[in-house]
């Protein structure tokens, strides 16, 4: 053991100053209103009942008139299964292609269930065992020998002893042997500390939410023993054009404000077009359901659509007249679609020729895309 994990402390910046406040801070008012209105049974150590947690994620109106904003836009059943999983004391694994709001949902679930979304382990190829179990404060270890005082608990250990929700991001990036330390924690609900001859027992309310990316499943495939400890919920790509346009417009608006870009009129034609192209390529069929098209290798996530539009907006602001036009999004689109130079270029070309070219009001767009593709 060479690294000592430093636990997140409460001395972080106060909420008003944080660039991006935690969910439980940003939505404190909604959470308080929900708690006040909530008369359904709450599982041990839960801040809210499962029903109220689902309402927090999906949005709704409370009897006292408080409007709860939707955090997640998508099928109700996804959130219901996720919340119910946590209520049955099973760990939850959120899977999905990149940009499907896995991290976002995990944070809000933890905030609503435990009032705390900060007990977080960020998974990387270099995540050590200490980040999941515990580390040592070497100065004290040398001075005092092994003791509870010299031990530095991981976020997971703290969640166990405090009965809260721990979060593990990008679980499949964590090396397999480090992942394995989660098995005992999830099945025995204890964390042995052989150095002290002790163990930490999870108190009621402890649970764990992990996220993992569908696409790089293969990186460190979860062992079946670990997989068995989780209920798995796959977050889908947005179901309808309207839903996705809604998500993209909202996020582009928020991001644009912080970058001081001109505002896009909501439901702008260009946003619709980008989302349409993303969806048609992703679904392998045109919006009218009449023509099948091939899908490129990239994931074409909503998050990428957001970034195509945002960078198009920046182009329009700095090099154009501030109005988002086909030419501003064409090269971004090309970059998002053509990941594999050979196969994807072919897919894109075929799509341009067999779908885009024939659309009457897409002439400008077709031309811009052809130009971008030729460079």
């Amino acid at each position: 053991m060479s690294v000592s994990a430093v636990p997140p402390t409460d001395s972080a910046a106060p909420a008003e100053e944080a660039l991006r406040p935690h969910a439980e801070t940003a939505y404190a008012a909604e959470l308080a209103a929900l708690a006040a209105a909530d008369d359904r049974p709450r599982p041990a150590c839960w801040q809210l009942s499962p029903w109220a947690v689902a309402t927090y994620l999906l949005g709704g109106a409370l009897p006292d008139g408080t409007v709860v904003t939707p955090k997640y836009v998508g099928p109700r059943r996804i959130i219901e299964v996720a919340v119910t999983t946590l209520a049955t004391d099973r760990a939850l694994l959120l899977l999905g292609v990149p940009g499907t709001a896995k991290t976002w949902v995990s944070e809000h679930l933890a905030a609503a269930v435990s009032g705390d979304s900060t007990l977080l382990v960020q998974g990387t190829a270099g995540t050590p065992e200490e980040a999941i179990r515990y580390g040592w404060n070497y100065a004290r270890l040398l001075a005092e020998g092994p003791s509870r005082g010299a031990l530095v608990p991981s976020p997971v250990m703290r969640a166990m002893s405090e009965g809260r929700t721990a979060r593990v991001e990008e679980l499949t990036r964590i090396p397999a042997d480090v992942q394995d330390s989660l098995i005992t924690i999830l099945s025995e609900k204890t964390l042995p500390i052989p150095e002290l001859g002790e163990e930490v027992q999870a108190v009621r309310g402890f649970n764990l939410i992990a996220t993992a990316n569908d696409r790089d499943r293969g990186v460190n495939e979860l062992s079946s023993a670990l997989r068995r400890r989780f209920n798995t919920v796959v977050l889908p790509l947005p179901a309808s054009l309207e839903e996705e346009v809604d998500i993209v417009s909202r996020r582009v608006g928020e991001l644009g404000r912080s970058l001081e870009l001109p505002a896009v009129p909501s439901g702008s034609a260009e946003i619709r077009r980008v989302v349409t192209v993303f969806r048609e390529l992703r679904d392998g069929v045109t919006a009218d359901g009449r023509t099948k098209v091939k899908s490129p290798s990239g994931s074409l996530s909503t998050a990428e659509a957001i970034s195509v539009v945002t960078s198009g907006l920046a182009l329009a602001a700095h090099f154009g007249d501030g109005v988002l036009r086909p030419g501003d999004v064409a090269s971004g689109l090309l970059g998002a679609v053509v990941r594999d130079p050979a196969a994807d270029r072919l897919v894109w070309q075929e799509y341009l020729e067999s779908v885009v070219r024939d659309r009457d009001d897409w002439k400008d767009f077709y031309r811009s895309c052809r130009e971008a593709a030729e460079h």
């Binding site: 499962p50 049955t88 209920n231 798995t232």
Partner: protein, 728 residues
């Protein structure tokens, strides 16, 4: 239903259904009868006009029928006879109430999922508080609200049906029955409970025209029950209802156990721990959603999250095999023959094709009407999985588009196959059509669908063709393998040119073929990069067949230009195997896209010492694959080949020799000899540079020979040999 009947103890049971079936009802209790089954009614003179009434074991009508038979209570069907309904089949008015009453009630109660609402309110809540008849009363009241008196037009199909049913109820009362159970769609309850005058009913039913119909029982499947179109009952989840119907207690646990067994059989690792967690999740979900018991939605959500790792892929298996289910029903031998068998017998008689248990061969000349009809019949039966005939090579060795050879063998099992195929329709043609449509919807690869399209043309099923072509278009769009596309194109173009295709389909077929050709144009150059010898050989074949197919597509200038451009790309790109470049160059030359000078220029570029000799030999093979006459006529090209050949280093010669031998041995012996003569004579000084290969003047002796042959071909009496007439 079972509980209600047990509680009510009727002395007669009347069921909404075709009364012509009354004579067949007793068979429902036969030991060989196993639902799902359907009652089939058809018009005797026109079996294609048919209707099915499907029943699952859990269908209320079936439960009522079995209750009556098991308790020796008289049972009858009381709907308007099929003999009348078939006559009115073409009326504008749709069958049924025109609104979905359950959806209407669910909406009134503020639910958007009618089935869910029905399960929650009726199946789970009303039932089980002791009075089995209570839900029926509640629903009857609700229907009365939806159908206030005077809200509907009098007359019409529904009114006639209800008048007929009332008449049967009165008859049952007159016969002395006191506890009459009427099993009908809830919608009809207010109309049957209210009693308009006998006279007004009689007026509605007076002088109804009728046709002669017959009925029988046929086996059905859960899959067909779940279809919303055709004769499906539109029950989305027959397997699930069957499960509920069969399992008296602990339904969720039993369901999860069955799901686990299914998934294990398909090599998913599912343990008992999974089953336990799935049950817990389903039950907690139901509680969270305010449902008394887990329904199909909760069970499915739990299976997905716990057993399928969130994936819908294994779940699709559960959906297909359990929620829908692949159960197939049985009917006893005593049930009357199905009309498909009857239609087949009729065709066999009129086409003089006896079903014989001994194998025999049959040669057909498709220009004759009877033979063409026989061919159609055999092709249609093949589509229906009734393999009476199989394709054979003709004994007489005669081939050609007008001939077909079959080997016929009628095995007794084929009768069962015919009975099973009865599910698809009542005549061979209509059944083959629905079967082809179904195959189109479920077939996987482009090759399969192309074969199906050809089968439809051979079997002459114009009504199936649009569906098949749509499927073909879909598969073609998705298939990324240029080779597959190139394999499919010639068959399509052939059907387009020679097939007997109707106007609209021809247009669709044409669009499809052209679209396919464009895709090939786009995909071919990248697909030709870095192929090994074998791959290049296969691709050269595709090149040739696509070229021929594209040429057959007339009036497609843009496409032809595109194809020429593609060939040019292939011919000029030096990352592509010599064989393919040579082949492309030759096709361009043959097509007049390149003149001889350009071909010679390309040849000179390729056949030089810098090009690896094997590569150059490949080029020559591709270029000359169309025949060696070119070298005879164009001494310039021959000279280039000759120069190159003499410049191949000794060390490389053994490598190129087999390639060259393969190329040249493909030529006609006469051509080979002439080329050899030319080479011996020396190729350096072409006689006429502007018409390479041609002498300055006409050689009359040789021309006369050609002229004679041409005259024979044209069928004109030619002048005596040697005569020199004006025909020159």
């Amino acid at each position: 239903m079972a509980a209600a009947l047990a509680q009510y103890r009727p002395d007669t049971v009347l069921i909404e259904g075709p009364p012509e079936a009354d004579g067949l009802l007793a068979l429902a209790a036969h030991q060989d009868m196993g639902p799902p089954v359907a009652l089939l009614a058809y018009v005797v003179d026109n079996p294609a006009q048919a209707a099915f009434w499907p029943f699952a074991a859990f269908s209320p009508e079936w439960v009522a029928l079995r209750h009556a038979l098991d308790h020796d209570v008289p049972v009858r069907f009381i709907d308007l006879p099929a003999a009348h309904t078939f006559v009115h089949e073409h009326e504008e008015e749709p069958e049924g109430p025109g609104i979905d009453p359950i959806a209407e009630l669910a909406r009134t109660a503020g639910h958007d999922d009618p089935e869910q609402w029905w399960d929650d309110v009726v199946e789970h809540q009303l039932v089980g508080d002791g009075d089995a008849l209570a839900p029926f009363r509640t629903i009857a009241d609700a229907m009365a609200e939806l159908r206030p008196p005077g809200s509907e037009p009098s007359g019409g199909r529904e009114a006639r049906r209800e008048a007929w049913m009332r008449r049967q109820i009165r008859a049952a009362e007159r016969a002395g029955h006191r506890r009459i159970a009427v099993v009908c769609g809830a919608w009809h309850v207010p109309a049957l409970a209210g009693r308009p005058s006998v006279a007004s009913d009689d007026a509605l039913l007076k002088g109804l025209p009728k046709v002669k119909v017959e009925l029988t029982w046929v086996p059905w499947t859960h899959r067909r029950l779940s279809q919303h179109t055709g004769y499906g009952a539109g029950i989305a989840s027959p397997g699930w209802y069957q499960h509920l119907f069969e399992s008296a207690d602990r339904g969720t646990v039993r369901w999860m156990t069955k799901v686990a067994a299914l998934l294990r059989a398909e090599d998913h690792s599912v343990s008992s721990a999974h089953v336990i967690e799935a049950v817990r999740l389903a039950e907690t979900l139901a509680a969270m959603r305010g449902r008394p018991l887990p329904g199909l939605a909760e069970s499915t959500d739990a299976v997905r999250a716990v057993m399928c790792e969130g994936s819908d892929v294994p779940l699709a298996l559960v959906q297909d095999r359990m929620v829908v289910g692949d159960r197939m029903g049985r009917v006893p031998d005593e049930a009357p023959t199905v009309p498909l068998q009857r239609d087949l017998t009729r065709l066999q008689r009129s086409l003089r094709l006896k079903p014989e248990p001994a194998e025999r061969e049959l040669d057909l000349d498709l220009r004759k009407d009877t033979d063409a009809a026989r061919s159609r019949l055999l092709h249609r039966l093949t589509l229906l999985d009734v393999p009476w005939g199989s394709a054979a090579t003709s004994r007489t060795g005669s081939t050609g588009t007008f001939r077909e050879s079959w080997r016929l063998l009628w095995e007794p099992e084929l009768a069962i196959k015919v009975a099973e195929a009865g599910i698809w329709g009542t005549t061979v043609e209509s059944a083959a059509t629905s079967r082809a449509r179904d195959l189109a919807a479920h077939s996987g690869s482009l090759g399969e669908v192309t074969a199906l399209a050809e089968a439809c043309l051979l079997a002459d099923l114009p009504d199936a063709l649009p569906t098949v072509l749509q499927a073909l278009a879909d598969r073609a769009a998705l298939d990324a393998d240029v080779a597959h596309l190139a394999e499919a194109l010639p068959a399509l173009v052939r059907s387009l040119r020679y097939g007997d295709v109707r106007g609209t389909d021809a247009a669709a077929l044409r669009e499809l073929a052209e679209g396919l050709a464009v895709r090939i144009c786009i995909g071919l150059p990248p697909a030709c990069n870095s192929l090994d010898a074998e791959g290049a050989g296969a691709m050269a074949g595709h090149l040739g067949s696509t070229h021929a197919a594209v040429a057959l597509l007339t009036d497609a200038d843009e496409l032809h230009q595109r194809w020429s451009a593609t060939l040019r790309t292939l011919a000029e790109r030096d990352t592509i195997a010599g064989l393919l470049r040579g082949r492309a160059a030759r096709l361009l030359l043959d097509d007049n896209q390149w003149d001889a000078a350009e071909a010679a220029r390309q040849m000179r570029l390729t056949l030089n010492p810098v090009t690896p000799p094997a590569e150059a030999a490949g080029w020559i093979e591709g270029f000359l694959a169309g025949g060696g006459m070119l070298l005879v006529h164009d001494t310039r090209l021959l000279g280039l080949v000759d120069d190159w050949l003499t410049s191949v280093p000794d060390a490389a010669f053994p490598d190129v020799l087999p390639l060259l031998r393969r190329t040249f041995s493909g030529f006609d012996p006469g051509v080979r000899r002439t080329i050899a003569d030319r080479v011996r004579a020396g190729t350096d000084t072409p006689a006429t540079p502007d018409r390479p290969g041609f002498a300055p003047t006409l050689d009359r002796t040789r021309a006369a020979t050609a002229r004679r042959t041409a005259a024979v071909l044209l069928g004109i009496n030619h002048a005596p040999p040697g005569a020199r007439g004006s025909a020159e």
